[in-house]
Symmetry: C2
Subunit: 194 residues, 2 copies
């Protein structure tokens, strides 16, 4: 836990900006679930908000429907296999899914029912914003960030840098078990055009 | 144009799944604008839908408000500088913005007022789905995909592969002129866990 540092929750957007696969988690009275999702996105700053598409067939959705909170966690190369497993098995079919996945879970003070996954690059906890029409019509949830943390080996001073811990590179799902890792930084300057 | 191949618009989701920066464009009677956005995301399959957050201060937003269509285009290393420029200058201040950006534009048959940018890796045209509450409250737009194309050097058979044309790698914006390029593929298999 020594590398997990808090991030200003009003500036949590940069944690999701790379657009990689996230792990979504939710819990109700100790009944926890975690699953991956690609369809999560920033929505606003100050306060930080995000959207998440979560189909009604998922166990995690059932928990989200009955909880005030959910979390989005930035999945990484180091837990790519666990991430794919968590999306390949439903807790409806396999009650021991989390144990079998091999992930190690932890919680943050004040959010005892929101499981977080070790080995992610960042962790964001959202309070649901009630939008029944979006949830019903599009399975689209909106959350307001109430807590955010990042691994300071790869995120510091508002910037990502993966050279110190390549196992914490973000992963971006395609299909059929294939991800792409995030690659090299490129710095662009347009001062000569302005 | 010889590498631009149509993609089934019901399966356009995989074109946006890597989560990179997109170029948003819209047009009204020949008045066109293009700007980058990180806050675009898949919403549904069959028909393909996506969400886009577009602040009301942007010229592109003004065009979107007055048009039936908008496009999302997957930005690439080869046009990273143009992409940053298009986000650094507003057409409200610089009417010659598109010309000065250096991008080459084209259109697709049936969508004469939706400018598309050469050098992107994929192009998706969306018809707006009317959701006044989301647009007003969150600057959140929903579109249904009505046309999709990809560069067949990097997207074929439903899969991305960037080895043939590294200049078409997706780019993922952080802040302050810094992007990350997409990196190496990683293939994960969980058959031993199921």
């Amino acid at each position: 836990m020594k590398h997990i540092k808090p991030i200003d929750k009003n500036h949590c957007g940069v944690l999701l900006n790379l657009g990689g696969t996230v792990l979504v988690s939710a819990g109700v009275s100790g009944d926890w679930d975690v699953m991956p999702a690609s369809w999560a996105c920033n929505l606003d700053y100050n306060p930080g908000k995000a959207t998440l598409v979560m189909d009604s067939t998922h166990y995690t959705r059932k928990l989200m429907d009955n909880s005030e909170y959910f979390s989005l966690q930035v999945a990484t190369t180091g837990i790519a296999k666990e991430t794919l497993y968590l999306g390949s098995v439903s807790k409806f079919d396999e009650p021991e899914k989390l144990k079998k996945s091999g992930v190690e879970l932890f919680t943050m003070p004040g959010f005892d029912d929101v499981p977080l996954v070790k080995g992610a690059a960042a962790w964001l906890i959202f309070k649901k914003v009630s939008e029944p029409h979006n949830e019903k019509t599009y399975d689209l949830f909106i959350g307001e960030c109430v807590g955010a943390w990042a691994d300071d080996r790869v995120f510091d001073n508002g910037q990502w840098h993966f050279d110190k811990a390549p196992e914490l590179r973000t992963i971006h799902y395609v299909t059929g078990g294939q991800f792409y890792e995030i690659g090299a930084p490129i710095n662009v300057n347009v001062d000569d055009m302005l």
